[in-house]
């Protein structure tokens, strides 16, 4: 028999303190019955011999200390998972909100998951083509990676995420894939945008949506990414699917974390965020990867908005220390009307070198990418210099780099929302841009590739054929 307590001593913010408890487990799930007989859920945050601190997911509003009753369910937060989740929409704590039936499920999983044994992890190395030049060429995404998008208020990160979802594919393969979308504190409008995008590409039956809206209790947000990832782990490692997990917006998640922390009167770390935020975020982001001998994978694409575009703010900062790189959106590119406004300079993909090169993309990929970085950085430096001393003060060489930077933004970074650029095309655009700067400045590229790929260098087909013909005729002659 599960005992019911009517001993709530204090209730404020997201927390209630229940006294005279016995046999309560740390982190177990709690049901709270309100006087109006509505039910709320919570989780034990701290427990002593005769008292339990409970965080209430739906907030404490309506709870009283006299009539509300508390039931401890004796288990930690479990989620029923099954293939019937595909194509369904759930709220932030995993209840269906699309009017469909409850999930039958195959099994129940603890939403906190367990850490993957480092010796079981497989090296992520499959190139994912997103069809976006700045990502594919310069910050390559590979299967099993966690690569966040660092955005800011008003920047088109949702559009970019939708485009990636629509276009992402592993070249030459046709495998089972699924998308798990965990939305935290998004507006109804944003949620609709994603839903419509998924419908348009008829991908909806491959998508599992978890929606915690901006007007839902903040505390639920702590659960949303965990149930999303539990679902993803089931699909990937039990069902062998390649799962792309999108979490938006992680900043809202961190705000909720801070709220709980301050309600618990913990010692705050930087900017009031709890000191354990790194560990907490890691328990989410680290649930990406591949496992040796299993076919599936989890690739994470979390989106977060940098408060005031500040990369050193604790949210992007802690994220960047855990994830394998970051895609940074730039406000100045956005103002210039460039979409997608990805600034390659602060962006990075740590697993890039594993996913590119001969057999995966193309032999010249790494060199081209390095050269683009170097040339664009140099061009942008010159741009800064021009602001001070004027364009006339630049040497011929410097002017060429300046021109390169401008053209690079226009022709390489910018592309249409519907344009799905294959990697070969992306690389070819890069080579065309290299014509702007002197060949001797292409220091990062192996001369062998310059010979082969730089336009004007390569012999046309006719020339090559002529050569071949002449060789053959020579052979014939010598035989005679």
């Amino acid at each position: 028999m599960i005992k019911e307590y009517r001993t709530i001593e204090r209730a404020f913010g997201p927390l209630i303190f229940v006294k005279n408890t016995k046999g309560v487990k740390f982190q177990e799930i709690v049901q709270i019955k309100l006087p109006d007989s509505s039910v709320k859920n919570g989780q034990v945050l701290e427990v002593t011999e005769d008292m339990a601190v409970v965080q209430v997911f739906e907030g404490t509003s309506g709870i009283d200390t006299k009539n509300s009753s508390v039931k401890f369910l004796g288990k930690t937060f479990m989620l029923k998972v099954g293939l019937d989740m595909l194509g369904r929409i759930f709220n932030g704590i995993g209840k269906p909100i699309d009017g469909g039936p409850e999930i039958l499920g195959e099994k129940e999983l603890d939403i906190n998951g367990l850490a993957i044994n480092p010796t079981s992890r497989d090296n992520p190395s499959d190139f994912i083509q997103t069809g976006i030049s700045t990502i594919d060429c310069m910050n390559t995404l590979v299967r099993g990676q966690k690569l966040p998008i660092f955005s800011g208020a008003g920047l088109p990160h949702n559009k970019l995420a939708a485009q990636i979802v629509r276009q992402a594919k592993v070249l030459g393969e046709n495998e089972k894939f699924a998308i798990v979308f965990g939305a935290m504190g998004v507006t109804h409008e944003e949620a609709n945008f994603f839903r419509e995008e998924f419908e348009k590409t008829s991908a909806l039956e491959r998508v599992v949506l978890f929606l915690n809206f901006a007007d839902d209790p903040a505390i639920e947000r702590l659960i949303t990414p965990r149930i999303a990832l539990t679902t993803a782990e089931f699909l990937a490692f039990d069902k062998g699917m390649h799962v792309l997990v999108i979490l938006s917006d992680m900043s809202n998640y961190c705000e909720a974390l801070r709220e709980i922390s301050s309600a618990r009167e913990e010692v705050p770390g930087r900017r009031g965020y709890p000191g354990y935020m790194y560990t907490d975020l890691a328990s989410i982001y680290e649930r990406a990867g591949r496992i040796k001998g299993l076919p599936g994978s989890i690739t994470q694409l979390p989106i977060l908005s940098m408060p005031d575009d500040d990369k050193t703010h604790p949210i992007p900062d802690n994220t960047g220390y855990i994830t394998e790189g970051q895609i940074v959106l730039s406000r100045s590119l956005h103002r210039q009307g460039i979409y997608p406004p990805i600034d390659p300079r602060p962006s990075l993909s740590r697993l890039m070198s594993k996913g590119i090169g001969p057999g995966k993309t193309r032999e010249d990929h790494a060199d081209v990418s390095n050269q683009l970085y170097a040339a664009y950085s140099e061009g942008m430096d010159k741009k800064d210099l021009v602001a001070v001393v004027g364009e006339d003060a630049l040497s011929e060489r410097d002017k060429k780099f300046l021109e390169f930077a401008g053209q690079f933004e226009k022709l390489f970074i910018a592309q249409d929302f519907n344009e799905d650029r294959p990697i070969e095309k992306t690389l070819d655009i890069a080579w065309n841009l290299f014509k702007i700067i002197p060949e001797s400045e292409l220091k990062r590229i192996n001369p062998k590739y310059i010979e082969k790929y730089l336009p004007g260098k390569t012999k046309s087909f006719e020339e090559k054929n002529l050569e071949k013909d002449s060789k053959i005729s020579k052979k014939h002659k010598s035989k005679k």
């Binding site: 930087r270 604790p314 394998e324």
Partner: protein, 586 residues
């Protein structure tokens, strides 16, 4: 007597009562699942325990079991090539037991109890031995001979020693009647004794140009690598672990990415040690506590690593220990401290942060071991300052104790200048000692060449400030040439491609050769009065210098000679033309 039971659970911190006779730092088994924990505070019969595993599901009233032992590390043959979690559980074995995900309450001995090792005594029955003395050897891997030491506090007459095959738990001899096994235990948080500390001077050759040439760390030195995310800390640590010429490498992945540990795990067994031509894994011990593994075990991982390092040092080896990242370890300290409701110091870190960091780095160093050999630990710690702000407590406390500072710079990494060690803000306090060593062991020119390179880089930064204000045109030709040469130093010497087969490791001879070529170029360019920077930019020798780094070792000497003569020739040509011009004008 009442049984010890749990009274309170808050994250990784658990309180228990009825604990009698226990000591601080004693290991306890918590709850029905026997989770691994350590007592960190005692108050009469109340104990505060930090638990090294997930505590979800624990309940007040569950039993607590004291073991009477502090957190101890198993030391003996079988460490090399292993991968452990923060409290020395062998992850390979854990995987066999619980599958791909790490379950709770699992225990497994760190050293395999079944494997037999061939023990050869180096000492005879009846000899008098003291603690720390070598009594025999075991071939642990193809490249490392494991020396078996008398446990530290044991002295006396040896008996029953003989050659044979033993497992780590078998008795191999007796010292005054006390059994000695192949394996011994040592408390992780206590430093192992030695005879005396010596001042390090021999360079720890890493094959990384900016490190070896500009900011060297000697064998037994301490270094820190602070840098914001994405500045290349981890790649740097991996490079050092791969190429540093230490005999033993201990790599501690402390609260870092799982996929990066996988990288180490897949790459090290495949890579060959350039000196022994055996897999790098043969000399490596890995401690992997990824960021989502329990936070208290992360705190322990640093101690586990340094204790293993000390054990090999005591055998007379040069050990290099990499810790990536010490900030995560400090954060673990902070998290536990705040659960203990201690008074927070700066940024919420406990007030004893500085002394803990100092204690850790002080366990490194060059020592004379109890056996009378020379052994060393070089400790290299990555620091991850929040927001890249070096004024934060972990960076500052680390700088106070380490002698080498490699400042990673986001601005450099953004333009893909790797390793992105900033040459203006980094320093090494060992420059003089290592310089003297290099004079004797590499070349007399070493210290002077280093000073000259630093001078050029320094001048460049001053000139660049002027350029920012007035533009490059306003500079005199000599200064513009200097800018070109500084650019050569940066791009052709300091930049090094970790992913290029040849460039990933650069021998000291090659480093010096490259510098000599650049300095010759500089000397010649500066000796001609009317030369312009455009002119030198067209020279073939400049392009050849740029390609030197990709020249394989075998061909390097020939290529260097050719390049040097080309430099001389090309500048002579220019000088002659100039003379002619002057004559004509004259």
């Amino acid at each position: 007597m009442e049984m010890p039971i749990i009274t309170k659970i808050s994250g990784p911190v658990v309180e228990a009562k009825n604990i009698i006779g226990a000591k601080v730092n004693e290991v306890v088994k918590v709850g029905n699942e026997k989770l691994f924990g350590e007592i960190i505070r005692l108050e009469k019969d109340l104990a505060t325990i930090q638990v090294y595993e997930e505590t979800a599901g624990l309940m007040p009233g569950e039993p607590v079991e004291c073991t009477g032992k502090p957190l101890s590390i198993e030391l003996g043959p079988g460490l090399l090539g292993s991968i452990y979690d923060g409290v020395q559980r062998p992850l390979e074995v854990i995987r066999e037991k619980s599958g791909n995900f790490i379950a709770r309450g699992l225990t497994a001995p760190a050293l395999s109890r079944n494997k037999k090792w061939h023990f050869k005594p180096t000492i005879k029955n009846g000899s008098i031995v003291r603690g720390g003395q070598v009594i025999g050897t075991v071939n642990e891997t193809e490249s490392i001979v494991h020396k078996i030491l008398v446990p530290v506090k044991l002295n006396g007459k040896i008996s029953d020693i003989s050659e044979g095959d033993f497992s780590v738990n078998d008795v191999i001899c007796k010292v005054d009647g006390v059994e000695v096994k192949l394996m011994q235990e040592w408390p992780a948080k206590q430093k192992r004794p030695y005879l005396e500390k010596l001042s390090p001077s021999e360079l720890l050759v890493t094959g990384q140009r900016v490190v070896d040439f500009l900011f060297p760390v000697p064998k037994g030195g301490t270094a820190s690598i602070p840098g914001p995310f994405g500045s290349g800390k981890t790649v740097m640590q991996h490079q050092l672990a791969k190429w540093a010429d230490a005999e033993i490498i201990v790599y501690v992945g402390c609260g870092e990415r799982g996929n990066e540990m996988t990288d180490v795990l897949t790459e090290f067994p495949r890579l060959k040690d350039p000196r022994t031509d055996k897999p790098l894994m043969n000399r490596t011990v890995l401690i992997a506590n990824t960021s989502n593994m329990p936070v208290a075990a992360r705190e322990a991982s640093i101690y586990t690593g340094i204790t293993i390092a000390e054990y090999y040092r005591d055998q007379g080896y040069n050990v290099a220990l990499m810790a990536d990242s010490t900030s995560r370890w400090a954060e673990a300290l902070r998290e536990v401290s705040s659960r203990l409701e201690e008074m927070p110091g700066e940024e919420g870190y406990p007030a004893y942060l500085g002394s803990r960091i100092a204690e850790f780095y002080e366990r490194a160093g060059l020592v004379r071991t109890l056996n009378g050999d020379i052994g060393s630990i070089s400790a290299i710690g990555a620091v991850s300052p929040p927001g890249g702000d070096f004024s934060e407590p972990v960076t500052q406390n680390t700088l106070r104790i380490t002698k080498v500072f490699w400042a990673l710079d986001a601005a450099l990494s953004e333009r893909r200048h790797f390793p992105s060690i900033n040459w203006l803000s980094s320093y090494s306090l060992y420059v003089d000692e290592v310089g003297q060593w290099a004079e004797k062991n590499v070349s007399k020119e070493w210290p002077r060449a280093r000073a000259k390179i630093m001078e050029l880089l320094q001048k460049e930064s001053q000139l660049l400030e002027i350029v920012q204000i007035v533009g490059p045109d306003a500079l005199p030709q000599k200064d513009r040439i200097l800018l070109e040469i500084a650019r050569m130093i940066r791009e052709d010497f300091l930049q090094q491609n970790a992913y290029n087969e040849i460039d990933t490791y650069c021998s000291l001879q090659k480093q010096l050769g490259m510098v000599k070529a650049i300095l010759l170029f500089e000397e010649k360019a500066m000796s001609i009065d009317t030369i312009t920077h455009e002119e030198i930019g067209r020279l073939d020798s400049m392009k050849r210098i740029a390609r030197l780094k990709y020249v394989p070792n075998k061909e390097f000497d020939a290529e260097l000679n050719y390049t040097m003569s080309l430099i001389t020739k090309e500048f002579e040509e220019i000088a002659r033309k100039e003379k002619n011009l002057k004559k004509e004008v004259g």
